[in-house]
Subunit: 763 residues, 2 copies
């Protein structure tokens, strides 16, 4: 393939854009399968309680009610509860408010909902630990008095960064895991520092805020013991394997069909599927389970609140010296390791010669946490970049120049000690430095600019792709991933480029989970990076065969054939052209030929390609109310090579909005009894178009040496630095250093009043 490309690198709308904006896309909740029943979950109202009795007799007698099922009624009853997906229905005890206890199955969703209210469940409340600080206290109740359940936890999907878990048994109360990172001599580092800044940062539980709540339809296979699961997921193989494990079926008997996904951001790896599958097998009919928005807030896996104590030092000359941190992550019910990300980023973005970082994963009687786009990174960067900004101010340095002087380069160690592979921190900072918005920055009254650097290691997986030309001329590309963010709309460009067809003519097939191509989960910003190479190889194999069959057809040499507009033609002789449909037919019947026009590519990229984002936000703060209004947002990101720049920009826009949400609006608030107080979109504030400023994206194309076409992952970096940049902008605008997220107007107003009073005192 010779540069310049005809399609690659050119922005092209989402394949499914039209159906999405016109509302014709089919989501799981739109499915109607003949004979389908509807399930309604009954959730625990207690954060911790014994289930004394469940009386379902009266409910089961209601017309239209097929069954009221508890854990004992399901084929999964013998399974151990070790993760959110295996916490199918509670057994004996409930461990968070919102834990599913029973499910009512009825002919319609309305009947199921009405009937669910009739089920009488008697509980005996038990002491609950809800607050992280309380959980850590010696003598407070133990969430897992017999130790954390040990089954392999499938939610460990972001384990792309190494961690050192020393597995001590001297852990504090309710701590399920610790990580420790160190380099240099931390005491000596601080001793050599001229300025030290020490501060504690706190963040809130936030929800992934996808538009589409969890939904699943499970259909028992009419021709066998297995089932087909239509669902909204990021990873069909992980869902297949987990459902198969919990239902004790061979994985090949579980077919997972991901439908259009209305957002996920890390939360959709199988929360409802094992439950829905178990219910469908129990009643022997198709079953649909759709969470309401409130259900979803209650029972899914939010991002954790994290407390970070951070101490950094620097010399007068502007060189950073030492970084020490302790972090506590509120994991809710199960373990999910954020320590690796916290350590990698805290100790890795700047060239601190001395670091010491200790992290703790803490259990509480709250919903188990899960992944949320760059899990742990926004919280970590909020802490790091707030302190770095203050350090620049303390040193009297320009915040960008201070960062540029200290930022890590390729080969420098991450916080976990490995060298950064090719990484573009400097390039992105330099691009921002040269950008007109930075050059001409000028804050109006009550305004300020805030800067933050984010980085993400990204994940690498392996992938297959199968490309075919069918006898009707359909060019298909079969892949194993789930398209959450538009990967398919990039992959068709590769196939179009290689086979000389219009991208619109390439049909993407998402292979069956039995016998279809393997692909990575749509997680860790990896899909394009890990898969595009396999797509290219598969298409190139088909190209070779097409050229061979065409060459035979025209009695020419393959190198004299060109592929143009769905035809193979002799170069310079457009009269001598034959459609690839016809060539596919010829190939199917050509004895001794290359066989059917198919190519199978595999990819296993050698190395990850870190992706860097630099965030610049301008805000205005209303001094009378503490309300923060973001006015401008520029995101500079190293994308390696943008196969389809329109989609990369779309990802960046979404991440920028979410970063602002984390910074300014979003928090899941639990009361002391573990009750969620923000269980609807009336109480939980997501960023909206009217709260989002104009977003400007700058794509830095610093090619990855390993990624296909030089690409890097792009999904996660955009969310990482928004909250930190907002906090720094607020500081610039007001002088108030915010140490907890989100920046509530009330909180900021109090701080502003305090600062004003202090300033008055100082007069």
């Amino acid at each position: 393939m010779t540069q310049p490309f005809k399609y690659l690198g050119q922005g092209r709308p989402l394949i499914e854009g039209r159906e999405k904006v016109t509302g014709s896309a089919r989501y799981v909740a739109d499915l109607t399968v003949p004979g389908m029943l509807h399930g309604r979950l009954i959730f625990s109202p207690y954060a911790h309680a014994q289930i004394v009795s469940i009386d379902k007799t009266a409910t089961e007698a209601l017309p239209g009610v097929v069954a009221v099922l508890t854990a004992e009624d399901l084929p999964t009853k013998a399974q151990k509860m070790t993760s959110r997906s295996s916490a199918i229905l509670a057994k004996g005890e409930v461990l968070f408010a919102g834990q599913p206890v029973a499910v009512v199955v009825a002919e319609t969703a309305e009947l199921a909902a009405d009937a669910a209210e009739q089920v009488v469940i008697e509980y005996e409340a038990l002491p609950a630990v809800v607050r992280l600080e309380e959980a850590l206290q010696a003598g407070s109740p133990q969430v897992w008095p017999n130790g954390l359940p040990t089954h392999e936890d499938l939610s460990q999907i972001h384990a792309s960064v190494e961690r050192e878990d020393q597995g001590q048994d001297t852990r504090p109360n309710n701590v399920s895991a610790e990580s420790h990172y160190q380099r240099g001599d931390i005491a000596a580092g601080f001793a050599a520092s001229d300025i030290i800044i020490e501060r504690t940062y706190r963040t809130s539980f936030v929800h992934q805020g996808y538009l589409e709540p969890h939904a699943c339809v499970a259909v028992p296979d009419p021709a066998g013991p297995g089932l087909t699961i239509y669902t909204s997921t990021q990873g069909k193989f992980i869902v297949r394997d987990e459902v198969a494990r919990l239902l004790a079926l061979p994985p090949r008997q579980v077919h997972v069909v991901p439908l259009t996904i209305g957002g996920s951001f890390g939360a959709k790896y199988g929360i409802l599927e094992p439950l829905t599958a178990a219910v469908a097998l129990a009643v022997g009919r198709p079953v649909c389970l759709v969470l309401s928005r409130s259900d979803d807030f209650l029972t899914t896996t939010p991002a954790p609140a994290i407390i970070i104590e951070l101490k950094i030092g620097a010399r007068r000359d502007g060189a950073v010296t030492a970084l020490q941190a302790r972090a506590w992550v509120d994991n809710g019910l199960f373990n999910f390791n954020h320590g690796g990300v916290i350590g990698t980023l805290l100790g890795g973005i700047y060239k601190f010669p001395h670091i010491k970082i200790d992290t703790c994963e803490v259990n509480t009687h709250k919903p188990p946490i899960g992944a949320f786009r760059a899990p742990g990174a926004p919280q970590t960067i909020f802490a790091l970049e707030s302190s770095m900004d203050d350090m620049a101010a303390a040193l009297g340095l320009d915040p960008l120049e201070f960062r540029l002087k200290n930022v890590a380069e390729t080969g420098d160690p991450t916080g976990a000690g490995q060298p950064w592979p090719s990484v573009g921190f400097k390039k992105c900072l330099e691009q921002l430095r040269a950008h007109p918005v930075w050059q001409q920055r000028q804050a109006g009254p009550n305004e300020g600019y805030g800067l933050a650097v984010g980085g993400w290691a990204t994940v690498v997986g392996t992938a297959e792709a199968v490309c075919r030309v069918d006898s009707d001329g359909t060019v298909s590309l079969e892949v194993g991933h789930v398209d959450v963010t538009g990967n398919d709309s990039s992959f068709v460009l590769i196939v179009a480029e290689v086979l000389g067809v219009e991208p619109e003519e390439v049909v993407i097939i998402h292979g069956d989970t039995t016998g279809g191509p393997y692909g990575p989960m749509s997680a860790g910003s990896q899909v394009t990076y890990s898969s595009a190479g396999a797509v290219n190889i598969a298409a190139q194999q088909v190209r070779t065969k097409v050229l061979q069959v065409a060459a035979d057809h025209f009695e020419a040499a393959p190198e004299d054939i060109e592929l143009v507009a769905g035809k193979a033609q002799v170069k310079g002789v457009p009269d001598k052209a034959v459609s690839i449909a016809r060539l596919a037919e010829i190939a199917r019947f050509r004895r001794g030929g290359p066989g059917p026009l198919v190519g199978a590519g595999q990819a296993a990229v050698e190395q990850n390609a870190p992706a860097v984002s630099v965030h610049l936000v301008r805000v205005r703060v209303d001094p009378e109310t503490g309300q923060v209004q973001p006015l401008q947002y520029v995101l500079v990101q190293d994308v390696g090579f943008a196969l389809n720049p329109l989609l990369v920009q779309g990802q960046m826009h979404g991440g920028m909005a979410q970063g602002l949400g984390i910074g300014l609006y979003e928090a899941m608030i639990y009361d002391e009894a573990g009750q969620l107080l923000t269980g609807s979109l009336l109480d939980y504030a997501l960023p909206r178009t009217d709260t989002t400023p104009s977003l400007e994206t700058v794509l830095v194309e610093n090619p990855s040496p390993y990624g296909p076409f030089g690409a890097r992952g792009v999904g996660e970096p955009p969310i990482i630095g928004g909250a930190a940049a907002v906090a720094n902008a607020v500081k610039a605008a007001t002088g108030v250093r915010v140490t907890s997220l989100p920046i509530h107007p009330e909180m900021l107003w109090r701080e502003l009043r305090q600062l004003k009073n202090k300033n008055l005192d100082n007069l």
Copy 2:
């Protein structure tokens, strides 16, 4: 792979044998899909009539009846009727008794059946041509007065043999196609002959006699505009394409899922599927259509009656000289070309230097004919081998030696003029000559031995196969064919051999028709021959990757690794072993490794491999009743290489029984009005265990130079010569030369009486 094989070449039972014999196999009629409706067809009672009116009002009002549909109600209404599969429901006119006119759709099969009797259809009978001879007469009614419908006829699936269709428009009445084959100088040939035998042979319509009548369930796709079709078919891609064409859907929206098939023998390529699919889309619900045995006899595609006028000559020295033939094939309603097979075999099995063969395809108002295992061959061989037997007798030669002297060898021309590729006629005859049954043959009273040679060009197609090791250790092989005869039970041996697992551990996956591997139709004895190479390549690719990952794992060289019992181990160090499951998992996450453990093979064998069968049958004839009892049957067949000899023998046994059926029992009898008189198994006699003698098979392994592992096709040859051998045995036992099939006792008794009278006259 080094000989000797561990699994290949060893007989191993059918994978699905247990579920078949225990009755747990799921056939289409066993399916229950939630919300499924049942269809019942209403057939034309006339061979030719105008449909005056269809009154469905009263029927549609019956409880449980969802709809009564006619051609106008279906999404296929604009489609032209050009073949049995596109003759979905009659429009205006019916053209054979048994043609579907309307379908009643109801909540249960019983309701549909009852309701179907209430539909009032008024017909106006039109003149019908039923008998072949009548159809040919000038002035008789034309089946297609405006010419035969011209759309590409998908039933031309056996067109592996070339034909010369000169497309004259001077054809006799109701003749839709002619073929003409010639070599040498036919007049000179006969002039040089010492003996000439001239005779006319007739055969009957026979039915494929599969145990499972046609059945289909069509399920509209809950997530899209397409549908899934569960069916009993030999070719999922041909069914997909035909349904898609008739429903005007892209082929990728039609998913064809072949279930366990209860026999087919050439008849299952889409008779019910377009109709069922159209009905399901019309009513928007899953629809099941199952034919009763009588429905199936009425409305499917039997094998044709053929009339062959055959004249052969030979010299005193035993060398054949000239062969002249005219053949008329009763095609019923549509065109299906048997001329190619008739010409190829009549003019190709022996080295006649001079041939002239003319064939006519004739239309009548009877059901359209279709393929039946080696279509045309049993009829042709019956004619040829009867005359050859008589010629040997007339020359005073041993019938085996006479054949051996004249039989074609590799490179000799077939009747169609191409040279036979590597062909084993002589080897098989020599094997029989050496066989104890032949050596020690001794006919008892009223007994005789009959010999016949059969040959079949076999078809070659292309195929793909994808082999994977999944992370749970499942070794899967994804293929594109439909396993009708046990191919899968051979393919698992290849994979087992290559990957060092037990054959029982290899899971066969029949890929989806959208995006799954392409495979040939299960027709023309081609599946193993065309596909086994692709299977081998795919497995070998996986082997290479497994060795590579294992070598890395043990820090050894790939050549030091061996695959044993699902493990890779260092040769001679069984302690150093790792399961292939673990290696699959490693490969999925190994950066820079070979990627997922998958291999994709394609095959396009260069040349067909003719398969030869030599049949020896001993019969006893009851002179008082004309009843023929087969006593012994030896079949010698060139199978090239038997990947799984047990399955090859199974195929041979079935074909032998069917050949005896064609010779002795089977005939579909139509009366002068075109009414089928033999529409049930009470009237239509299939061979039974108590009419079948002990069957002995001799596998000649004369390796095909092109086929994978030397294999040849084996499906069709066993049926070819049985009827001819029986006729020759009857001649040997009684002196009566039978010239029409089947050999009814009544007919033979009349011949015996005539012969006796003639002998008495001669006294």
